[in-house]
């Protein structure tokens, strides 16, 4: 799958991550109104494709932090603002 084949929600969270610099997955879920289960699945998929970096962080409530990976710059993004999830 190439970055061009990203889903809308994936583009949205990539845009959020790039704007935030670094953010915890739970905070990102709350900001983007994506449900926790879906968020973790999506993040794991994006991390596998090197589009985000997930690292352990004992200070984070959920124990993880997400950073934009260098490859994410090539991926198309949506405007980073809190929106309702698509039905």
């Amino acid at each position: 799958m190439t970055p061009k084949e990203l889903k809308d929600n994936e583009k949205k969270i990539l845009a959020w991550i790039e704007k935030a610099g670094a953010i915890s997955p739970s905070q990102l879920a709350a900001e983007t109104m994506i449900l926790p289960q879906e968020m973790w699945e999506m993040l794991n998929r994006l991390a596998e494709r090197d589009l985000v970096m997930l690292r352990d962080d004992p200070d984070s409530v959920d124990g993880k932090l997400i950073f934009a990976a260098p490859m994410a710059k090539a991926a198309p993004k949506m405007q980073a603002k809190p929106e309702q999830d698509e039905p």
Binding site: A22, P36, M53, R55
Partner: protein, 371 residues
């Protein structure tokens, strides 16, 4: 504090200024017009005479010291002021100044009395530092690498001393840098805060070219690599902030967290948040010493069902209530904390820290009343 290089700098600068100012006042005062003890008048005359004969030595010493100073600042470009204030940095300056004075003393002793004193000062002040750094080559090998040349290296001794100084200054600066990073880490303990501060610092540097900015950003990216231990990542990011922003910037960041933010510190903190708006806006400390992260952690401590009913009772919009309920529904392979944390963040972002703190307080009070 003896260990702080900047304090040492301020102390000596102030001390020198006081000595010079006192001497200037003493010499400028028309003491002969006042009805003073002749001893005082004699003292003034002697100081004037003494200074007159010392001036050439001071001038030569200053020229020699300036050369040492230039060597230090060009070698330690990132920390010139701190390099000058290190113990071995001062040895180097004093050695340059002192040997120039000694050379002037000897040359003046043997020079004919009619020699122009200004020319002599210039010749020794500039010529002597040049001489002790010179390698004279009498015979040069054709096309050789220089090893077979015949000559006298007058600079050998000075080179050895310079190498020693460089090593010692490096060690002293390393300790100094470590202390600054520790101060920063004490105030910005999480990787998230450090990363966002580093990101802002790199982007805010007006003199960075696009390529330099990219290089620094990729350095930062390497430091948060998941393979890197968390403690090492924190220290490395702290060091990067120090290198990119400088010591004054680290001071400003530390001060901004130490007390209630001053207008400048608040402005920097605000600008720093601007680079990473969504995350930092939520992690920013709020009044009363409570920050949103602490409130989120408090909420996560509640059982999931309690958290949901607590949240639903506070949220007015049905969309918000629905989202909280959906997020709490039993889900496949994620832990309860991973369900509770997004709900907690959601409540904080929708209701604000103060409202939640008040609601938690009321909840505690009512449960205390019941019991």
């Amino acid at each position: 504090m003896k260990d702080d290089l900047r304090n040492r700098f301020n102390f000596w600068a102030t001390f020198s200024l006081i000595v010079i100012a006192t001497l200037a006042v003493l010499l400028a005062m028309p003491l002969d017009l006042m009805n003073l003890n002749p001893v005082v008048l004699q003292l003034q005359t002697r100081i004037k005479d003494g200074l007159g004969s010392l001036t050439p030595f001071i001038a030569v010493g200053a020229l020699g010291a300036a050369v040492g100073l230039a060597e230090l600042t060009s070698t330690f470009e990132d920390y010139p002021r701190e390099a000058i204030m290190t113990q071995w940095g001062q040895y180097l300056i004093w050695l340059n100044g002192g040997t120039a004075i000694l050379a002037f003393f000897i040359i003046r002793f043997y020079a004919p009395p009619e020699t122009n004193i200004f020319l002599l000062i210039l010749m020794v002040g500039i010529g002597f530092p040049t001489l002790i750094r010179t390698n004279f080559t009498f015979a040069k090998q054709f096309g050789g690498d220089g090893k077979g040349d015949m000559g006298i290296n007058l600079g050998w001794l000075y080179e050895q001393f310079q190498t020693l100084c460089k090593k010692q200054i490096d060690v002293e600066l390393m300790t100094f840098r470590r202390k600054q990073v520790d101060r920063l880490l004490a105030r910005y303990p999480t990787v998230l805060e450090l990363y966002q501060t580093a990101l802002y610092t790199i982007k805010a540097r007006a003199t960075f070219t696009k390529a330099e900015e990219e290089t620094k950003l990729s350095e930062l990216q390497q430091k948060i690599d998941p393979k890197f231990p968390i403690e090492a990542a924190r220290t490395e990011i702290g060091l990067l902030i120090l290198e990119v922003g400088g010591i004054a910037y680290v001071d400003l960041l530390v001060e901004a967290r130490r007390e209630a933010p001053t207008p400048v510190a608040a402005a920097v903190a605000e600008a720093s948040r601007g680079a990473a708006a969504p995350a930092a806006a939520v992690t920013a400390p709020v009044g009363g010493g409570l920050d949103s992260e602490s409130v989120v952690k408090k909420l996560v401590e509640m059982p999931l069902d309690d958290l949901v009913s607590f949240g639903v009772s506070l949220l007015n919009a049905s969309d918000d209530q629905d989202w909280v309920k959906k997020a709490a529904q039993p889900q496949g392979n994620i832990t309860e904390v991973k369900q509770k944390a997004p709900i907690a963040y959601y409540l904080v972002s929708r209701l604000g820290v103060d409202a939640i703190v008040r609601a938690l307080q009321n909840r505690n009070d009512s449960s205390a009343d019941k019991s």
